[in-house]
């Protein structure tokens, strides 16, 4: 039954990806400003512009460019950057791990912070601890990441003559420094997600704690940790797992800012630069990877949801 459900969800994912490919391809070209204009900068001589457009294949009809791009995708080729001439796939191959590392660290922080605080807030509802946790969550949701990131870099530099690592170190150069450079941006990126997770954990756990079977557990004289963590939390976490899927998308989009502030050469920064430069193949390639990742994550979440809660069948 679960397998059939998973297969059905997989089939739904295919048209989603196809529609996304059309959107990704056309939206990049709808951004005002032309890549060739930007490449030539202030040297806008008409003949040179036409020459460059022809050289890059941008003088052909847009549908022809789309068909060619899809053909390449089918062969596992995301095309070449218009600016650097480098294959997009190769560029992504070394940038994607940086973003994934940052995203993973952020997710770990989000879960490690969000769930325990959510549990405490639920179990100690309407106490000082609950109020502090909820206020913290509101703060975490409302403080802009770019502002927090900038302060964390600049203030220690001004007051202590120290700054966190803002120069990228590869794993093979210095493993400890490599891991360390992700901790602070990962923490800051995880804070906003932690706030959402905390609020949802609290709400869901409060609901579960009012269920009859939990009352039965209490009446049996079970200890609080056992009632809360073993009997209640698992059920309360089912919606949280769904939200985690959404949080992954949010975290991926948040990498753009933190990669720039902390000098991490990841996919977010790559995308930001590509949009600025109207580098269509790069914009398309990255967005396709992001869309694909999100579709897959949602697929996994849906399947996990069905697995966690056997009542769910669509």
């Amino acid at each position: 039954m679960l397998r059939k459900y998973a297969l059905k969800r997989l089939l739904v994912a295919v048209p989603s990806l196809l529609i996304a490919s059309v959107i990704v391809f056309s939206l990049a070209r709808l951004i005002p400003g032309d890549v060739v204009t930007l490449m030539m900068e202030e040297n806008q001589y008409a003949q040179d512009l036409d020459e460059m457009r022809a050289k890059l294949g941008l003088d052909r009809p847009i549908y022809a460019q789309y068909v060619e791009w899809m053909g390449r995708i089918a062969r596992g080729d995301l095309g070449q950057s218009l600016y650097t001439g480098k294959p997009v796939l190769r560029e992504l191959a070394w940038r994607l791990p940086v973003s994934l590392e940052l995203g993973a660290v952020a997710l770990v922080f989000a879960v490690l912070i969000g769930i325990p605080i959510g549990v405490v807030a639920a179990v100690r509802q309407d106490t000082l601890r609950d109020y502090v946790a909820r206020s913290g969550a509101i703060l975490g949701l409302s403080v802009p990441g770019f502002w927090l990131g900038t302060l964390v870099v600049v203030l220690p530099a001004i007051y202590f003559g120290w700054s966190p690592p803002i120069e990228f170190t590869r794993l093979d150069d210095d493993p400890w420094r490599h891991v360390a450079q992700f901790l602070l941006p990962g923490f800051l990126l995880g804070v906003a997600s932690a706030a959402s997770i905390m609020r949802l954990t609290r709400t869901q756990l409060l609901e579960v704690l009012r269920q009859d079977y939990v009352r039965t557990a209490w009446s049996k004289g079970l200890a609080e940790p056992r009632v809360v963590l073993k009997h209640s939390l698992k059920n309360a976490l089912i919606p949280v797992v769904t939200v985690l899927g959404i949080q992954i998308a949010q975290i991926l989009s948040g990498t753009v800012i933190f990669e720039s502030i902390f000098g991490l050469p990841g996919m977010g920064r790559f995308l930001f630069d590509a949009i600025t430069e109207r580098d269509y193949p790069v914009i398309q390639g990255i967005n396709l990877v992001i869309v694909g990742t999100i579709v897959m994550v949602n697929l996994v979440v849906d399947v996990a949801y069905a697995w966690l809660d056997p009542r769910i069948r669509y």
């Binding site: 490449m39 040297n43 460059m52 001439g85 700054s163």
Partner: protein, 537 residues
């Protein structure tokens, strides 16, 4: 704070023209070899100078490649002056108005990297470079050599350049650190083009050791550099910090040795107090910026085809107030050629009648508008892009306010950078446009903004007398005479008020005090300026 003419001369100085081609070297008594220099680097789209207009490529290649001529550098060179001297050429003769013969230095070696493997550079390499520059498809800088007809290698060390017409700016273009470095034919043959880091093989003082896109670029000393003993610094590292706050933090905490802002290792004016307090030993060098922001007007259409309206627009602007808000540590007043280019900008107090339109006079502005039939004012639009600069946004808002004060209602169209570049920057707008202009090192780039058919002619100027004056100056090889012509051109332009020029800010270059024999300047020649520098620590 305005700067007086005396201040300006002290900041920038007047250039001394000359044709001596001996390379300038460090003058300090005991320069020391060794050490590393770390600065805010730039990730280029690629490394082929003939296939991009990006300054990031040119900055990177300034460490690795030589040119026939280069700009003099060092602490004695006044920023804003660009006297040329020999780089790969040791001598040139000017046979007639259209023929230049260059004698190359002997013993100039390419970097010891395959496939060139440190062979001697020859005239054939120079010919190959310029042929490629002129013929390769997609060279955005080809216009720099628009007067070049052909290049011949006469013998192993002699190259002849034949121009199609006299071009007084030809030598300035050759010495410009933009795209005209000499490249190795074998590298093009082996790699297909020069985009890859492996293809970065030049004759310059440093060799590219490694490049990690968006992370860092590292250069090491060229052991066979043709100037004996140079460079003194063994290793150069360019760290790519995309975020301005991170860049500032990197400089304050000593992670880089020079100010992180473009182009001359600057800091932003509003960071000055923090830097001074937190890195007190920093050596600051002040000089005017050649970035000139202006307001362009559709002078080919009403109402801006009426000179009275243009004058009124200029008189409506309180430039001093805009400067006080956007560049509190000082500005310079710009004649049509930015004041920063001290060899060519006419001193403001000699600008003549046009100078008075630089000062605010709302009453006179209203009178002129009334005389032009706009007593009740008029409405227009202003296109601009923020360039990510709060100062520019403030300047736009203040300009709109000043125009409103005299009855001109301006609707602001803020455009994304790329859209602005594709439209307003190329003169495609309805009423007004506003933005910074390309910070060229020669006056011609600024004068081209007045030539019909030039993409930089944002105000659609079509003034036959002015066109003749500009073209004539380009044919006048006598530099003294040409300077006089350029001054006359500026007086004419100022009177016609084709653009509304704002003041330019003062740059603050910030340097580690232990760095000796280094003088900051405008432009992309980071490598050229560092060549004779050394660490005293």
């Amino acid at each position: 704070m305005d700067l007086s003419r005396r201040d300006l001369l002290a900041l920038g100085g007047l250039t001394l023209s000359g044709a001596a081609l001996a390379p300038s070297v460090g003058r300090a008594a005991t320069p020391k070899r060794g050490g590393a220099f770390r600065f805010r680097g730039y990730t280029p789209p690629h490394f082929d100078p003939h296939l991009t207009a990006s300054y990031t490529t040119m900055i990177n290649l300034s460490f690795t490649h030589g040119r026939l001529l280069k700009h003099k550098a060092g602490p004695t060179v006044k920023p804003g002056t660009f006297e040329y001297e020999g780089d790969l050429a040791e001598f040139f003769s000017h046979q007639d108005d259209t023929t230049y013969v260059f004698r190359l230095r002997k013993g100039v070696r390419w970097h010891p990297k395959p496939p060139v493997n440190g062979r001697e550079m020859t005239a054939e390499d120079v010919r190959y470079t310029f042929d490629r520059f002129m013929t390769i498809k997609g060279n955005a800088n080809r216009h720099m050599m628009k007067s070049l007809a052909k290049v011949d290698a006469i013998d192993k060390y002699t190259v002849k350049f034949t121009l199609s017409e006299p071009d007084a700016w030809f030598l300035d273009s050759l010495s410009n650190p933009m795209a005209l470095c000499i490249v190795a034919p074998e590298a093009v043959e082996k790699f297909g083009d020069l985009k890859k880091p492996e293809a970065v093989i030049g004759t310059g003082p440093w060799m590219l050791e490694g490049h990690q896109s968006k992370v860092r670029t590292v250069w090491v000393r060229h052991p066979d550099y043709f100037v004996k003993g140079l460079p003194y610094i063994d290793r150069v590292e360019g760290i790519d910090f995309p975020d301005p706050a991170a860049r500032l933090a990197a400089f304050i905490t000593g992670q880089i040795d020079a100010g992180p802002e473009f182009p001359g290792m600057m800091i932003r004016q509003h960071d000055f107090d923090v830097v001074k307090a937190k890195r007190p030993q920093t050596r600051f060098v002040r000089f005017p910026s050649n970035v000139m922001t202006h307001i362009g007007m559709r002078t080919d259409k009403p109402p801006f085809n009426d000179i009275r309206v243009r004058k009124a627009m200029s008189l409506a602007l309180d430039r001093k107030a805009i400067s006080a808000a956007t560049a509190p540590l000082g500005v310079v007043k710009n004649p049509p050629v930015p004041a920063a280019l001290t060899a060519w900008a006419i001193p403001f107090d000699q600008l003549g009648e046009g100078a008075k339109y630089h000062e605010p006079n709302p009453k006179e502005a209203r009178r002129l508008l009334k005389e032009a039939g706009h007593g009740n004012g008029f409405a227009t639009t202003l296109d601009y892009a923020t360039y990510g600069s709060q100062e520019l946004i403030d300047a736009v808002q203040m300009a709109v306010k000043f125009f409103k004060d005299v009855g001109i209602e301006v609707t602001v169209n803020e455009k994304p950078y790329a859209a602005y570049f594709a439209t307003a920057y190329q003169g495609k707008y309805e009423g007004l446009m506003m933005g910074p202009q390309f910070p060229a090192l020669d006056p011609y780039n600024f004068l081209a903004q007045y030539l019909p058919g030039e993409p930089k002619n944002q105000s659609h100027v079509n003034d036959p007398a002015l066109t003749d004056m500009i073209l004539n100056s380009g044919r006048t090889l006598d530099e003294k005479k040409r300077r006089q012509q350029v001054w006359e051109i500026q007086k004419h332009i100022a009177k016609q008020v084709y653009y509304l020029r704002l003041d330019s800010g003062i740059y603050y270059a910030a340097l580690d005090p232990a760095l000796q024999e280094f003088g900051p300047n405008l432009g992309y020649d980071y490598g050229g300026r560092l060549m004779a520098a050394w660490w005293d620590k």
